[in-house]
């Protein structure tokens, strides 16, 4: 009897979770492969025809291949900012963890502020304009770095705390200190946490909509999230194309998730528990 109730409870939980979490995704996929008139119903019916290739090419070719250009832009943005986040964040976290003092306290405070304070939008635009970086890719990359550094520093610092200081001291005896100590000895040891930081910040930057909207407006260098947003007004009647676009944009995080499930989850919880 007890076992029966157990299985029953399991079943209910399973069904509810499946409906709540999988129905939206199946809906995305189904609508993406329907033809235009059937997609208009926005229902859960099985597709009567399967114009997958047509929808795919229509989305790719839309507005003079804007999606492909957006993919290139998003890739540049993600790779550029994640590389800087990793190097700058690890360097800062190393000194922050190893060297206490007034500067350390200030840095601690700034890291925490970076996690909590919402960025001031228009003053940032004003500043980027003064530097000649507004509406440029390098400008947006620096914005992403500045806004995501704190989280990376937090993860790196927790990991560096577990690296014994004796190692630094041994390296120092061999005449290795400062930048060389960091890049030759410490940074290679950070590989596991570096991978975690790369994964979590890639997902954040790739999925970011707000910052490209503010700091990199315009069609030429739109990122995938912004193009998806612009697609909506253009394809307000062609739901199949809109959802094909959504599916295409969801693929990169899905691939990362399939391969690095544990790392991503660990990265996203570690920072939370420590912070």
């Amino acid at each position: 009897m007890r076992a029966l109730r157990r299985t029953g409870g399991e079943l209910v939980a399973l069904v509810v979770a499946t409906v709540v979490f999988l129905v939206p995704f199946s809906f995305m996929l189904l609508t993406a492969v329907k033809d235009e008139s059937q997609a208009q119903d926005l229902d859960f019916a099985w597709p009567t025809s399967w114009p997958i290739v047509e929808n795919f090419t229509a989305v790719i070719q839309a507005r003079d291949y804007v999606l492909l250009r957006a993919y290139v832009n998003s890739t540049i943005l993600t790779v550029g900012s994640v590389a800087l986040i990793v190097v700058f964040g690890a360097m800062a976290a190393f000194v922050l963890q190893r060297r206490a003092g007034r500067v350390g306290t200030l840095a601690d405070f700034l890291v925490l502020s970076g996690l909590i304070i919402p960025p001031a939008i228009v003053p940032t635009i004003w500043l980027l304009q003064a530097l000649g970086l507004f509406k440029t890719m390098p400008g947006l990359i620096l914005v992403e770095v500045a806004f995501n550094l704190s989280y990376a520093v937090l993860l790196f610092r927790a990991f560096i705390a577990a690296i014994p200081r004796e190692l630094d001291e041994a390296a120092m005896i061999d005449g290795c200190s400062g930048l060389r100590l960091f890049f030759r000895v410490i940074f290679p040891l950070l590989r596991p946490v570096t991978i975690t930081v790369i994964l979590t910040s890639s997902v954040t930057v790739f999925n970011d909509f707000v910052n490209p909207l503010y700091f990199l407006p315009g069609d030429d260098n739109a990122t995938v999230q912004v193009t998806l947003y612009n697609f909506q007004s253009q394809y307000s009647t062609q739901w199949n194309l809109l959802f094909m676009d959504i599916v295409l944009i969801t693929i990169p995080p899905l691939v990362l998730f399939v391969f690095f499930n544990r790392k991503i989850v660990a990265g996203m919880t570690a920072g939370a528990i420590k912070g």
Binding site: V95, I117, L127, R165, F209, I246, I273
Partner: protein, 311 residues
């Protein structure tokens, strides 16, 4: 901080002996130079800290990016005098409270469920977590379609059981809450994995003790799991409050603050005023958001942190 034997100073190219009475500290300085802070500090200070500080000045001006005219507290007065701006203030608070409340409750329940002996545990964990990684814009559009008044799947499902569902996003009374619930759908995965980590770190002895005393499942939950997963609750509340107070993209993709201004939050008003060219007013919104976030999160962090110390 005092390390007795940090190694002899035999490093080449450096002559720290020349500096008088710098023993441990002197050596430390050479090993962990502040130069390592420099790249991060430059980007952070220039792109993030300077604008944050400047916002306090520009919020007091009428501003065109090129020149600014000092108008005192006029922008703030506008913000709180005009109904369609003031509503953003209350909406932001409602949104943050609803999303973080639901994330705590549902995250805890899912966490308990997904640490029990469920056969499809791994699969379910992935399913619950995956929406976290999907772009907010994509989630927003998908749910806009699902929540459409006549043809949307949600209302059709409700019609099957005889309920006449409202126009979720088009009705002033439901728009904000509908977006908040979609936010919970997308974000509950983080809360769940935080709770899973918290629950798994509870020592088994406590559960055994309850079993010895003849306590049931409710007892286990109420007197062991709930109190001992407090650090997780703390993290979830802080995280979702920070996220909820500044949330913009989901609201913007689903309702654009509509119908009218009824689902505007401070962050969406900042964007609207920026688009309309009222840069000073937009920056005043940023300052208000700054004040709201710090005024809520800092005391909350302190209060919850204190409770954590004495469980």
């Amino acid at each position: 901080m005092t390390r007795q034997d940090a190694g002899p100073r035999t490093g080449p190219g450096r002559a720290p002996d020349r500096r008088r009475d710098r023993t441990a500290r002197g050596r430390q300085r050479s090993a962990y130079p502040y130069v390592l802070y420099l790249p991060a500090a430059i980007v952070y200070v220039v792109i993030f800290a300077v604008p944050t500080v400047m916002a306090f000045y520009f919020a007091l001006t009428r501003w065109t990016l090129f020149d600014s005219e000092f108008v005192g507290l006029q922008n703030f007065r506008d913000f709180f005098a005009e109904q369609n701006l003031r509503i953003g203030f209350t909406n932001t608070l409602i949104y943050a409270v609803v999303t973080s409340g639901l994330k705590v409750v549902l995250g805890l329940l899912l966490g308990v469920l997904l640490t029990s002996r469920l056969r499809l545990r791994g699969f379910l964990r992935s399913v619950v977590f995956f929406p976290v990684l999907v772009s907010t814009v994509a989630v927003g559009f998908t749910f806009t379609a699902l929540l459409r008044p006549d043809t949307g799947l949600v209302n059709r499902a409700l019609a099957l059981v005889g309920v006449d569902g409202p126009d979720w996003l088009g009705d002033a009374t439901t728009a904000l809450l509908s977006v908040a619930i979609v936010d919970v759908w997308k974000g509950v995965g983080i809360a769940t994995v935080i709770y899973i980590a918290g629950i798994l770190s509870i020592p088994q002895e406590y559960y055994q003790a309850v079993a010895v005393d003849g306590g049931g499942a409710w007892h286990r939950f109420r007197h062991v799991t709930m109190p001992l997963s407090w650090p997780a609750t703390y993290s979830v509340i802080i995280l979702s409050f920070i996220g909820g107070l500044r949330s913009f993209d989901l609201i913007w993709t689903m309702t654009r603050g509509g119908p009218g201004f009824t689902s505007d939050t401070i962050a969406s008003i900042i964007y609207k005023q920026y688009q309309a060219g009222f840069f000073g007013l937009s920056t005043a919104g940023n300052v208000i958001l700054f004040v709201v976030v710090t005024a809520i999160v800092v005391p909350l962090n302190w209060f919850l942190g204190r409770r954590q110390a004495t469980p």
